[in-house]
């Protein structure tokens, strides 16, 4: 006589393809995003000054009989002009 075992009596784990453990592998892949290019514009104030001139001082003049004397600003002496 052939024996008969109802399917329900067979442990599921013994059946092919049933009860296999599913392995889930979590992989962390390093990825970087750079901040990118930093670009900053710097404005440096600069001035250029034109030629500095010394204002002319007072000129002391002494005239007599067609002859003219002026004071030398360096020597502070009368000189004939």
């Amino acid at each position: 006589m052939f024996g008969f075992s109802p399917l329900s009596e067979t442990p599921l784990s013994t059946l092919p393809g049933v009860g296999a453990t599913i392995i889930v592998s979590t992989n962390s892949i390093p990825v970087e995003i750079l901040g990118g290019t930093v670009l900053t514009t710097k404005t440096i104030p600069v001035e250029i000054i034109g030629i500095k001139t010394t204002p002319a001082g007072l000129k002391w003049v002494l005239s007599s009989r067609g002859v003219q004397w002026v004071i030398d600003p360096q020597e502070l002496k009368w000189t004939i002009e």
Partner: protein, 250 residues
């Protein structure tokens, strides 16, 4: 933390001469910046701090009035309360605190734009080539040194590069040269003397030392010289030099 544009700062060197006779260059002065904005029109200046504790410092100001004369004024900080200058400034030449602030110190034109903000731990700002005057009979070349510094506390600026902005301000009269050393303290006897520690002066993009391929790590800095050429009998001008700082960050 990635490097941001505000981390990249231009600072003065220790010797920014007031004339053509004194020493020019030297080490970095990390308390004095060389960037600020002039008042859009002549105005009194206002100063105040972000901290009420800043009441003991004075701010020494030099500038020009509308007639072009140099004027000076010492202003006393009063914490967060606005203090207004007696003088009217058409432009600013130098501004230096007697001591660093507990808070950020704002310098502003009264009724016009902000001039600068002096960060905590710094002393002020200045204009390079102070009182640079043209000659009646001959051309003249002046050299002054400034630095670019990465103030980021941890990150590096890779491929750090300087790029002058063409066709703006005094771009046709000012070139620059990167020093062949990272934090070199080189100076020259006066600003009419060319520095020796510079390979070339130019107006193109150039990476920092070494060989234009360098990086600026956290708090790292690179010196470079500005070379300004003045023609004989050149007219006076109030202008600027514009330069970009570029690089990549992670």
């Amino acid at each position: 933390m990635a490097v941001t544009s505000s981390d990249l700062v231009l600072y003065a060197s220790a010797n920014m001469p007031l004339n053509d006779n004194n020493t020019s260059g030297g080490a970095i002065n990390s308390g004095i910046r060389v960037t600020f904005t002039d008042p859009s029109s002549a105005a009194q200046l206002i100063i105040f701090s972000s901290s009420a504790s800043d009441t003991s410092q004075t701010l020494a100001l030099k500038g020009r009035n509308a007639a072009g004369s140099i004027i000076t004024e010492s202003m006393s900080l009063d914490g967060t309360t606005n203090v207004t200058s007696s003088n009217t400034f058409e432009r600013v030449l130098t501004a230096e605190l007697s001591d660093v602030g507990v808070g950020n110190i704002t310098v502003s034109g009264n009724g016009v734009n902000q001039i600068a903000e002096i960060p905590i731990g710094e002393n002020g700002f200045l204009r390079p080539f102070y009182d640079a005057t043209t000659s009646a009979s001959s051309s003249k070349t002046l050299y002054e040194k400034i630095f670019v510094k990465n103030n980021n506390t941890s990150s590096t600026l890779d491929g750090a590069t300087l790029i002058p902005v063409a066709a703006t301000g005094l771009a046709s009269q000012i070139t620059y040269g990167i020093e062949d050393g990272k934090a070199s303290p080189q100076s020259v006897s006066n600003r009419t003397t060319a520095p020796t520690g510079v390979d070339t002066f130019g107006s193109g993009a150039s990476g920092v030392y070494p060989n234009g391929t360098g990086v600026l790590t956290a708090y790292d800095y690179q010196g470079f010289w500005l070379k300004m050429s003045l023609e004989a009998n050149e007219s006076a001008i109030n202008s600027f030099y514009e330069i970009q700082v570029s690089g990549t960050t992670s």
